[in-house]
Symmetry: C2
Subunit: 542 residues, 2 copies
């Protein structure tokens, strides 16, 4: 007998084929947490063991509501222990957790609830007025489990705590296949409808192990270990808070859930609960720094991953001045999300903040590489592509967009990157924003950074305009600090400053924009990202 | 569409389904190793990148030899970079690495080579005389790739380095399914033939991630991280050196391979190469301590996992006196092997060495529990059983023994354990060695430990003898330090000492052995373990 497959091994059927499923993360966490607790709702605390009981109660309560394998259960809630309960209980039923992005437009929220075929919604009372608007005129509305108390005309399935109190604390979850879809959420861009992204148990567990391995074994400056105290500062509806609550639970560390984000309350929690590990987007870090600086508060021993969009070296230095240990990680909604981070020590971070603002090195078991289209091979830059065991399989029910995401066996990030001499990657631009001029690639982000250095510039966006001879040429949209400033003077100063940058070798010689436009404000998408598509359309219709 | 399976998601076929395969460990290691090297053969060093090239060359050379998916390739070699090359190259071909236990009898070695259907052997020249004896009179002998040079009458397939030199350094390994069997070796007990144990790529990768997560995120006292230097001190044929070379490679740390174990050379390597992380059985640690103590050598900063058999608190204290950071881990050939370890800080280890000699707590994603047969439920002790994603599926081609290993969906360890108040487990005895007397369980190990405290006792073994009234009663076999000692005096002193232990509550009242026998030596198995089966047979034939 030379066979090598499980099912063909004699006697193998007697064993338990242990899948990579989320219930094993919860069980390990409870086993190893000891006295550690989950702090939530502004002071309440919950032991891991009690948390485990509540997960069983929620599982039983949802089953009583008719939730079964492959049902979609949507959640609209602030960052609390209840959201974490849903992170486990819903997938452990074999059902799928749909995390609703409450910052989308009403129309988009309705689209995502309907497109995902949501069968039940768990919603905090504060979101009921929003849901009433979302479902205005709807023929069919899913039943709603309400967290808290508020009158509503929506179909009411019960109050969250009341349902848990009635549920069976010794409920046993069914066996779930590791390839069952555990989570489902939507990502939006500048074009088209929100796209559904899903993850299986196996993908989430593999991500949890690899991320835990990466941050466990790295330098103390940026480590996440059993002696840490965790608080998420990326909303739990956003790519399951970057997957870190699963890592925290597997570690069995003390966890702090901040509820609705209030800068002063967050700073207070970091200090009083001795929070040591968090993660957020640059905007949140800016908000927290403004609060901390106002009061001269230092936050030593607080390690914070910055992701979502690029951290500037200026922000990194500012955070370090408040004793915060920041560093960048990289990923997308489609990558679970973490696939790389800037490995650094405290000394390196201080000496060279630019380095720890990069995409950095791939985490274990992840392949990152630059996809070289013919035209840019000589420049060592191209689209960053990835491959590992926790990338989303496909956009939900959208083969057309999926075919753009997955090409040649790699997930295409849509980011243009360069690999530095030390093997770390850094992002140059979005593929759709890079300016292809005379056979060369010009980074709109590089050009924006140089223009933004001018003291009179408040905001700037650079986009490509089609050009007969060169293919494309850069055009800039500038919002001045002083709206009364003479445009021609400003434009001339900007061009002179760019010439200096070209002489210094910081920009290529063909970087001076053909056009500079003065604007009152720059267009943004519903989630606050710069809408370059609108600017390109504006140029084309001029 | 509410489907949740990969193959049913529209467009999903465009993506690469990334398996948990060993090639991803090697690729991540090379990517993250930087300047770290693999030190081997008493001074030679190899960059990770060069190591990767040699793995490709070995893969190509083996393919040229006719090795393909599901072929078994056996290795007989000391702990060197060549063994590590085989750890990757053989499984990455879809073939299976058979690690030959060179300490077995010639007859057992031949059995394991034939039972595994080995198609090719890679053997160091020093093992050729052994192989000639193994295959004396054999009809068919697999071809042998020889490491080094020596004349032989065995079928010669080429010299290892010569084959690599001829091979294609740009060889691309085929895609391998994560459920393909990667490794195969044999475990021996006191009864029957050696039993074949196999692991798939998926099991080895899951073990690597979970072990890396566990030792990465634990206290500095016992951590294994990117800044460590690794040296195995468990032979690479023994459960793939406890799987730690795969963890070390994924970390990209400097690795030191000691070749043949020589205490003075090992101590020298620890000091000159700044080794910080190793693992060994208690016997090896004793040997190294004798060497270190002889020269008054301290080994600060050296973390060493002790496993294979129980570490005594005395050994723990002795190792700590030489500044070595020891702690126990637990597992078996059938568990990949690591499934638990004694979590400890330096302060706890010093204050309470007993605690870090225990089986301890399960590593992430592992379930450990006590299986309570009716008779012992009240005693909180019973057989330790386990479940996780990296336990062996089955004994190779042995459904009978597999049915004993896997029962009720759990792997049965054959160890009797107790769970302490802090949740950690400790081993009381082997299930087959525990003495069932008057409906109670008596640990032969506890009794042996108490008898061994007597200054006149060199070695002791306690086994059960059938008893009409009590079911079983304990009998002791004692080897005295001084062979001329009067037996009756010794027996009387031992019984008195045991009565004191009973009064202190350290032993139950029924623990005094019915019989004590004086012996010149205790019987041992081929791998040096105490052979209690032989002692029980001796009692029954008396």
């Amino acid at each position: 007998m030379t066979t090598s497959r499980f099912s063909e091994i004699p006697g193998a059927s007697a064993r338990h084929r242990c899948g990579l499923t989320l219930d094993t993360i919860l069980a390990s966490g409870i086993e190893s947490a000891g006295e550690n607790q989950i702090i939530t709702d502004g002071g309440m605390d919950l032991s891991y063991r009690d948390f485990g009981v509540r997960v069983r109660q929620l599982g039983h309560a949802l089953m009583q509501q008719g939730i079964k394998a492959e049902s979609r259960v949507a959640v609209m809630e602030r960052d609390t222990h209840r959201y974490l309960e849903a992170y486990f209980a819903v997938p452990m039923l074999g059902a799928t957790l749909m995390t609703v992005n409450i910052r989308l437009s009403l129309e988009q929220i309705r689209y995502t609830l309907e497109h995902s075929k949501t069968e039940l919604i768990i919603a905090a009372a504060e979101f009921l007025p929003m849901l009433e608007q979302v479902y205005q005129g709807a023929d069919s509305i899913p039943p709603i489990v309400v967290i808290g108390h508020a009158p509503t005309a929506l179909p009411f399935a019960g109050e969250y705590e009341a349902l848990l109190a009635e549920a069976d604390a010794s409920f046993v979850f069914p066996a779930v296949d590791e390839d069952a879809v555990a989570t489902h959420f939507y990502t939006t861009g500048t074009t088209g409808l929100p796209k559904g992204v899903t993850y299986t148990h196996r993908q989430l567990v593999a991500h949890t192990l690899a991320v835990g391995f990466a941050f466990g074994t790295t330098d103390d400056y940026q480590s996440f270990r059993r002696n840490d105290v965790y608080m998420p500062l990326t909303p739990m509806f956003h790519v399951h808070a970057w997957g870190l609550p699963y890592v925290a639970t597997l570690l069995g560390v003390k966890q702090v859930y901040p509820g609705r984000y209030e800068p002063s309350e967050i700073i207070r929690l970091v200090r009083t609960e001795n929070v040591t590990f968090s993660h957020c987007v640059p905007t949140i870090m800016q908000m927290l720094l403004a609060e901390a600086e106002k009061n001269g508060t230092k936050l030593p021993g607080w390690k914070v991953i910055i992701g979502g969009s690029a951290m500037s070296p200026a922000l990194a230095k500012r955070a370090m001045a408040s004793d915060i240990q920041v560093f960048a990680a990289y990923g997308m909604s489609e990558t679970c999300p973490v696939i790389s981070f800037s490995r650094t020590t405290a000394a390196e971070a201080k000496a060279n903040p630019e380095k720890m603002c990069r995409v950095g090195h791939a985490i274990p078991l992840t392949e990152l590489k630059i996809h070289h289209p013919q035209e840019s091979a000589a420049q060592r830059r191209g689209e960053l592509v990835a491959r590992c065991a926790w990338l989303t399989d496909a956009y939900f029910d959208d083969p057309h967009m999926t075919a753009q995401l997955w090409r040649d066996g790699y997930l295409h990030t849509g980011d243009v990157a360069v690999q530095d001499d030390d093997g770390a990657f850094h992002i140059v631009d979005r593929t759709k924003d890079i300016i292809k001029t005379g056979g060369e690639w010009l980074s709109s982000l590089d050009l924006e950074a140089c223009i933004a250095e001018h003291a009179a510039v408040e905001e700037v966006a650079v986009v490509a305009k089609p050009h007969e001879k060169w293919g494309e040429r850069p055009c800039a949209f500038v919002k001045p600090r002083n709206p009364d400033m003479d445009p021609e003077t400003l434009f001339s100063e900007i061009r002179n400053a760019l010439r200096t940058r070209i002489e210094e070798g910081k920009l290529p010689p063909y970087a001076i924009p053909d056009e500079i436009h003065l604007v009152d404000m720059l267009p943004r998408t519903s989630v606050g990202k710069l809408n370059k598509k609108a600017l390109r359309e504006q140029l084309n219709t001029d």
